[in-house]
Amino acid sequence: MKILFERTGGIMGSKSVLNIKLEDLPSNEADTLRKLLSDADFFSLSEDLAVHPSPDAFHYTITVATDTIQHTIHTSDTTAAQELRPLLQELSQRARTLRRP
């Protein structure tokens, strides 16, 4: 399973990107992500949840692909459902660790 995560906007208008393959992660970390995806009911979320842009909020695009299914959603800090937020936070924190040189 692959996850492509993009976060744009925010008060700095910057962009962070994360591209991960669950198979490459330690199994406990991969399990955490699988659980977050399942808690969010990711594959049944509607595609566009970011209807009206809010000042300085982050915008998120997440694509999850398995061998059989691929799904992309767009959402934001102000429009994301509570069930999706732990996943957004986890992916944001992971993307941040990439910024080390």
Partner: protein, 378 residues
Amino acid sequence: MHTCHSIFCITPPHMLQEIVRNGSATQRDIALRTLITSEQFRGQRRAMKTMAAFMSAAAETGNKRRAVYDAKLGSELPGTLVRSEGDHASSDPAINEAYDGSGITYDLFFDIFGRNSIDNKGLKLDSTVHFQKGYDNAFWDGKQMVYGDGDEDLPAAERLFNRFTISLDIIGHELTHGVTQYEANLAYWDQAGALNESLSDVFGSLVKQYQRKQTASQADWIIGEGLFTSNVKGVGIRSMKAPGTAYDDPILGKDPQPGHMKDYVRTVEDNGGVHINSGIPNRAFYITAIELGGNAWEKAGRIWYKTLTEKLQERSTFQQGCDLTYEAAGELFGANSLEQQAVKKGWAEVGISVAGDAPSGCLSTVLSVFGISLRAEK
């Protein structure tokens, strides 16, 4: 012609507002009627709304109501109420910064522009601190301000961001998004979005300058001073004085802001670069304020405030931002006044010329027929 009470006839609206708030009953009455008459005379679109606001401001002087909530690193808004208006200071600096910062922002808008809170009707100022874990951001969600703690969850050597309440101008920036929502309601994409962003930086910076009692030339014109940890090579997130120079860091990259139309950035990200191209109108404001000297909130700030509350509309462009601030300067200070010339110069230096260069403002044009110059207002 309408009846004219000598002094009030040539008194600018902001002084009339002061009189409405602080004058004797008779003075108030005359000032109010003058305001009503002159607003109608000018036929401005928000005349009646403005009058209602003056009257409510007069009735509710000092109606400042703040509430700070704690999200406790979660994402439920607003979270737990931790400080209300008049409560003692907390031991948590983020709570106090959100409380004090929204208070100073309220004061600038009230003291200088006669505005009673975000909606001009005394709306309660709600802020949430400690939003999520490792949340490097602050935003306005349409109802309230929200602040993250930056990189609080990382080891000190890896942290780039401090808590977002640390910069007073960030608080002023977020609160101003609320004011813009209730006034021009600028769209949040492309040039209208960049104007929206710029207005938040303008009034955010003015809040900081007002608190520090700094003149335009003393101010640093940096947005987000103190937001970066010492691990970052940068002084803040934006520079209104020299867009594009606020940071240049191996991890964060270089500040992408242009300071001139020739460097305008076309992108689909960040809602069409609203935080990037805002450098252009930011610098126009900075140059105008420097040209005028003294405290930036007194003249440049008043011109931009009038433009925000009476002229800009949802889809306004940079060109309209230029034309309308020029028009507002003409109405406030007179056609061809030094103030109006300063506005023109501010925009010219970022590559935008006033359209047509026509004498501005219906009121000044009509008054000039009667030999009255608005220059006498000052």
